[in-house]
Symmetry: C2
Subunit: 249 residues, 2 copies
Amino acid sequence: MAGYIAPSTGRAVRAVLFDTFGTVVDWRSGIASAVAAFADTHGLTLDPEGVADAWRARYRPSMDRVRSGMRPYVSLDTLHRENLEPVLLARDVDPAAIPAGDLDALANAWHFLPPWPDSVAGILQIKRDFIVGPLSNGNTSLLLDMAKAAGLAWDVILGSDVSRAYKPSPEAYLAPAALLGLAPGEVMLAAAHNSDLAAARSAGLATAFIARPAEYGPRQQRNLAPTADWDVTATSITDLADQLAVARC
Amino acid sequence: MAGYIAPSTGRAVRAVLFDTFGTVVDWRSGIASAVAAFADTHGLTLDPEGVADAWRARYRPSMDRVRSGMRPYVSLDTLHRENLEPVLLARDVDPAAIPAGDLDALANAWHFLPPWPDSVAGILQIKRDFIVGPLSNGNTSLLLDMAKAAGLAWDVILGSDVSRAYKPSPEAYLAPAALLGLAPGEVMLAAAHNSDLAAARSAGLATAFIARPAEYGPRQQRNLAPTADWDVTATSITDLADQLAVARC
């Protein structure tokens, strides 16, 4: 069978799985839009991008409590909803003064983030020759809502609530591979974050870096370039598609 | 939000999940074709439809050992592969005389079954307004191979290896609903088998009967008609799509 052989693993890649927040969708613009609408509805003065950044900044520490076992598994939906409250409090907005349904709706904006301009077409192109799906810390229902709204043509969606593990824990990479009936080396992680790729490589996966230099806004400092010899380095998902197509014999 | 309200549950259905073997794909024809090719390769005289029927007949009892807890969870792939051997032995074919890879390949035919003529179009039509996916005893990789080969445009694939439960156990219906973030009554099972629908209804799901009068060949006796007042009774998946579209306000 003709295929793309990953240099790092020597295996033919069968599935290309994608980090989603930042790699496939533009969380910062999507959340800022939702925050702007929320502020308008409630007559609040909020800096939408600042709220998006502060909300996102709480993601990793809150997840690390689950990853370390300090806290039993809860979904990313739960963490997003919880983390919204201190973000508002820090801006002198009392969450208790806002109807809970409106806070829930704002937290639900993480389900409906806009794709980067190349995501829909790139995923469709890769889907012709590979299994495509997210490999995200998002829960299944979040990833499903996102896919249906954005038109992401995933073959399969296995959220972190299926593996009950958060990246960068090895299990978060190994459980999806096992459910796909594949060896780790037959799975490629495509991600905009070097740390995610490093963990995937440690777990035995092939790796592709997708540059997303505006993910964190105009002053982004990190993840502007690959920090290791990932199997592929691409400027977009369509570029990744083209490189995988060329590399197939 | 306009939607289809299931009479039995009074809830708006958000996801239509499908039994696969018999309901979406024609396992008997697909397996018979694979058996015919296998017999030809190995110079064997086998009745392809008879082998398909005998192989399928071992499915339920082998699964019941897992369902009852007599045996720890193993995937349907494992059961299909194991069950092939007594089927061959009963026809005086010694599996030990056949290369194991050829037996594996024959068992893998369950991943590549042909859809009924209305399945692809009907699922696409229902997908416009609902989440669509399989709700099958198949494992995720089997359902994924089937979907890619047949062109079934599922939004999400959660195999029995995700819930680690086999239908008709209640958990097999409830675990997918929970992963979709839905109440059981927001999920409809579409199936060609009354017993599957009865178990789904007991678990709180909405139900649709799809008539597949040739699933078991020309002399089929069971499941020719609905045996209860399922929410919808349809002659095909496209008919189900039309009925759901009409019933949406």
